[in-house]
């Protein structure tokens, strides 16, 4: 009765078409999302790479500029200065470089910290706090630091071996540990005390460990032995 009704056929065809179109649209949409995600990621990677390159190039530019300035200075001096002036300028610069490297005995004002340990002092905790204490002194403007008379320079390691001694430049230093730092005394004290929550307090709070600290005048910090600073593996670039 109903089977050859053209209206029904048209409707069926229309519904089929609709389904097909919806399928195609959905597929297109899916592909678009997938490909867009891919392109976004590669663009983001490119941007991150470029940023890192820029940081590196900036650092390189700074060092190249510094190299150029030094060369210019040296050239100016050799061309314009008298022999005496030339040698005097070189000597002054050498003295400054040695002073900076830690190869000269230095005097100044700053702080004194003393750490006393006992048999139950935790080695790992003391190691960590001692490193952070030295780091905090540096952050507060310390320009020279010593532990038990050993000058702490750029490549100085500080290793807490056990409760009884620590090792600096592969030499054993026995407790109590006496630290001197030259810098602005109040900056240094503020840095290590932090209104009662500083590293000196943290060290004082360690089991079987005590710490005292104070500002100090007339500090003398010895030079680092030259043999401690090795450069045999460093080639000039």
């Amino acid at each position: 009765m109903k089977k050859n009704n053209p209206g029904v056929i048209i409707r069926n065809v229309a519904i089929t078409l609709l389904c097909v179109v919806i399928g195609i649209v959905a597929a297109m949409q899916y592909r678009a999302i997938v490909s867009k995600e891919g392109s976004d990621q590669s663009t983001l990677n490119q941007i991150a790479d470029l940023r890192a390159t820029i940081l590196n190039l900036n650092a390189t530019l700074e060092t190249v500029e510094m190299e150029k300035d030094e060369l210019q200075d040296r050239l100016n001096r050799i061309e314009q200065s008298s022999h005496d002036e030339l040698l005097k300028a070189l000597q002054t610069e050498l003295d400054n470089v040695k002073l900076f490297a830690g190869l000269t005995e230095v005097k100044g004002r700053g702080v004194y910290v003393q750490i006393n340990v006992g048999t139950r002092t935790n080695t790992g905790s003391l190691q960590n706090r001692l490193l952070l204490l030295i780091n905090e002194l540096r952050a507060s403007g310390a320009q020279a630091i010593s532990i038990n008379g050993k000058r702490i320079v750029a490549m100085s390691e500080i290793r807490v071996v056990d409760g009884n001694y620590i090792s600096v430049h592969a030499e054993q230093l026995v407790a109590p540990y006496e630290i001197y730092a030259i810098g602005d005394p109040s900056d240094l004290l503020n840095g290590i005390t932090m209104n009662g929550n500083g590293l000196v307090h943290q060290i004082n709070d360690l089991t079987d460990t005590s710490c005292i600290w104070r500002a100090a005048e007339d500090i003398v910090i010895p030079a680092c032995e030259e043999s401690v600073i090795n450069t045999d593996r460093l080639e000039s670039k």
Binding site: R11, L18, I22, V25, Q29, A32, K36, D40, T43, L44, I47, I54, L55, L57, A59, L61, E62, T63, V64, M66, K68, L71, R74, L75, I78, E79, L86, L90, Q91, L94, N96, V97, K98, L99, F100, A101, L103, E105, V106, K107, G108, N128, L131, L132, N135, A139, A142, Q143, A144, I145, A154, M155, I158, R159, T231, R233, L234, E235, S236, K237
Partner: protein, 242 residues
Amino acid sequence: MEDTKKQKNYGQSVLLALLFALLSALVVSQVVARHQSESALTREQQEELQTYQSEVDALEAQIQSQKTEINRLESQYDMALQSLREGNKEFYELYKKYTDDLDAYRVKAGLTTVQGSGVIIRLDDSGLVEGSIIHDTYLVETVNVLREAGAQAISVNGQRVLPTTEILCLGPSIRINGTREFPPYHIYAIGDPEVLTRAYRDSSIYKTIVAQNLIYDVQTSSSVVINAYSGNYKSLITKLFP
């Protein structure tokens, strides 16, 4: 009866027509939206890429011009040395001794760019674990382990480790030589690559970093380049008196 059937057919056709209209509207709006958002995104990113790329080009050009200038100064300096040697041999020898001395101590002081075999360690915040980040103390301990293993030069994100170098937490960044550095942190060290790697992998700080699910990578290299300190070292010896 006929009327009702006709009415039903009519209703269904209207429904179909509406569906079609809805679908076409959907398709058009999606195509338009997709086109707009895609072009906006890529345009923005393209612009960013281009900005960075031109910055890279400009920096490379600047470096190149500085290097050309250095070459020019070097040949000028060589000529000056030459005439010094010809004019006064004795003074030339003395001058040479002073400058050689100075150059050697500048290496010891970390004031020159150096290269050699060593390791490159990369540390980054965990992308997976909330709050699992690289703390200043991890860098302080890592640097200490490398010193203990005989490193002769170290840098963190291009900052040379000096006698005065601090590594201090500053919000999401870390302050090194007074400069803010952000993760990832690249620690370069020149020394025996095997000794440095073994010491680091055996250290307690390495175990902590692994346990914290932080991102880390330790690579040996036959040519690690460590930059000179680029700041003014004279500002770091103002409170020291011989």
